[in-house]
Symmetry: C2
């Protein structure tokens, strides 16, 4: 039978997470090295991998938590009434997701759950974001020919597209918020 989790385990894990946060605060996500984290946490390298499947798993956790913070903000706000408000509301999240090329790459890698049983923190946030967006869209005068879920899926696709273009030298002249507004206008308020 399964034993209770030891105190030690929780402490070590907390030390690792704290150390990682410190490194990231100083030098950014991309600069994080497992060796630096274990050095600061005062544990052996192997211990890291006893707590996290791999480096990406810790990134998933930390970045996922940050995204969740932004989603909390979104949920605390009233549903936006206009396309412009909607784009504006999403900008803090977009800004975080595009704070580093590396961060965006991690997010894309983890945005889908590899298996039903192992939905990671970031994959969870994508589900949450869809739900929040779908709730915004209900009872609003946007697309009536599409389910709120499908509309929300499209919004997510355009968020990813807008961030992708932030990192593209050929297209990053346009302000991300303007681009989001253009996309949302076209997607949610077609002028047929």
């Amino acid at each position: 039978m399964a034993r209770a989790i030891q105190q030690r385990t929780l402490q070590t894990r907390a030390k690792l997470v704290e150390a990682a946060k410190a490194v990231i605060a100083e030098d950014g996500y991309e600069a994080m090295r497992v060796e630096e984290v274990v050095l600061r946490a005062g544990v052996a390298k192997g211990t890291f991998f006893a707590h996290f499947k791999d480096k990406d798993a810790l990134m998933d956790l930390l970045i996922g938590a940050e995204i969740d913070r932004h989603l909390d903000q979104l949920e605390a706000q009233p549903a936006p009434e206009t396309i412009s408000d909607m784009a504006a509301a999403m900008m803090p999240l977009v800004a975080f997701m595009s704070c580093e090329r590396y961060v965006f790459d991690v997010i894309l890698r983890h945005s889908g759950a590899a298996a039903n049983a192992e939905i990671g923190p970031i994959a969870m946030t994508f589900g949450r974001h869809t739900d929040i967006t779908a709730n915004w869209l209900k009872n609003k005068p946007f697309r009536k020919d599409l389910s709120a879920e499908l509309q929300a899926e499209g919004v997510q696709a355009f968020v990813v597209q807008a961030i992708s273009l932030v990192f593209c030298a050929l297209h990053n002249a346009v302000d991300p918020q303007d681009r989001m507004e253009t996309y949302l206008q076209a997607w949610l308020l077609p002028q047929t």
Copy 2:
């Protein structure tokens, strides 16, 4: 002053590319190891990096070439008349882009040019794909409130979204082609 490129250089490069293709044909993209490639090509490891900035650069080349082959097919076909035809026409490309999780990750990483001066093969294919799609949409009875370019950008966003969901255990029950049709219908033929 710059000297002409040596024969030797082209030969070595060709040997490396051939060796890489062979490895990939046998074991797939993800399994490709630089050490295995240089072993088969009969050159030293350092030589590889004299020809390619890093492993990703060779991947960019090989995967970009493969995507170009699919785009050649698309260009050779007449413009699709219906949403259904359009989705069907894009499926071979979608299938290749989702043949391996690793391949899709490489594509996403390289889909935007990091700098204007260094547009890689994959970034080029994204531009080409937009152009081809925009040409399809011109003189067709789809969205008249949007430029063909914006419509094409949206199509690209939905292609990426559809492939992402192929790799997501939570959503991969739906057939990719059906999903593409749903997206394209919603994007290009809104029923307001």
